[in-house]
């Protein structure tokens, strides 16, 4: 097994294990930090998929923005010494049932029934996809791009309106 494969498997294991910890721990601050490891692992997987722009975006938006927001949310809305999450057993049971069901169906569809025409991706190197990605965003998918910018403006206005103190 080459070094690159070894690192790949390590990243996969780190992503899954920290994701498991993020949904299972009772301490929300720990959950957010576990989520940090998951997002970094996802960025690593994007690099392995030759999507280096997405890896950079992942680190910038998720780690730099969303995680800080989450940490702020956790620390702002909870007394730091009683961070217990009240998870009723019935919720856990329903979650387990649904999760195992999803997992089984995905395994069946993807692993057992999946017949994919694989592209070996020969000739793709790092740094080549960015130009094509930008070109696509401004030609073929320009309507979706503009719609998303409108959505961002709506989000900003909504967030400001919701937190505004009305007197």
């Amino acid at each position: 097994m080459s070094l690159s494969e070894l690192v790949f498997h390590g990243i996969c294991i780190m992503t899954v294990v920290s994701g498991f910890y993020a949904v299972y721990t009772e301490n929300l601050v720990h959950a957010v930090f576990a989520l940090l490891a998951t997002f970094f692992g996802m960025a690593g997987l994007f690099v392995y998929l030759r999507a280096d722009f997405l890896a950079a975006l992942q680190v910038l938006v998720y780690v730099g923005g969303i995680l800080v927001l989450f940490l702020f949310g956790v620390m702002f809305t909870q007394d730091i010494y009683r961070l217990k999450i009240s998870a009723k057993p019935i919720n856990r049971v329903w979650g387990m049932i649904l999760g195992v069901g999803f997992l089984a169906s995905f395994f069946w569809v993807v692993i057992l029934k999946g017949r994919f025409v694989l592209d070996t991706g020969v000739g793709m190197t790092l740094g080549q996809g960015v130009e094509a990605l930008g070109g696509l965003l401004l030609t073929r998918y320009v309507l979706a791009f503009e719609a998303v910018t409108l959505l961002i403006v709506a989000c900003m206005v909504g967030a400001i309106l919701l937190t505004l103190k009305r007197e």
Binding site: T15, V16, G19, A22, V23, L28, A31, V32, L35, T38, F39, M42, F46, L49, R50, L54, L57, V61, Y62, G65, I66, F70, F72, G73, V74, T77, Q78, I85, S86, A87, K88, N91, W94, G95, M96, L98, G99, F102, L103, F106, F107, V110, I111, F116, V117, D119, G121, M124, G129, A132, L133, L136, R140, V148, L151, C155, G158, A159, L162, T163
Partner: protein, 104 residues
């Protein structure tokens, strides 16, 4: 190779669904939702990388979808956390079983 990415994606998706359902804390539920969105984004990129282009769809289409998913996830997190703050100001708790209205 594709199967391995899909495996990671599926496991993250299931963990996210489990987290969203089992937690009653609003921020904890949001963590689960972020995991689900990340899993979807990973599987889009993996399919775009390993499956031959279909029809006249370009090779980077999977990455474009993933970019949009990241943007939408950021918007969703901002609005949802804003609602969480508003709820906290009103009820002093963010347990979703105890919260029913956004204003009194």
């Amino acid at each position: 190779m594709l199967e391995q990415y899909l495996l990671v994606s599926v496991v993250l998706f299931v963990l996210g669904v489990f987290g969203t359902i089992s937690r009653r804390n609003a921020v904890g539920m949001l963590i689960g939702i972020e995991l689900v969105l990340n899993a979807a984004s990973l599987s889009f990129v993996a399919f775009g990388r390993y499956i031959l282009p279909f029809g006249d769809s370009p090779k980077e289409a999977g990455q474009v979808v993933s970019v949009f998913i990241i943007i939408l996830a950021a918007c969703e997190a901002v609005v949802a956390l804003t609602i969480v703050y508003a709820l906290y100001r009103l009820y002093r708790t963010i347990d979703v079983d105890k919260v029913h209205m956004l204003r009194q």
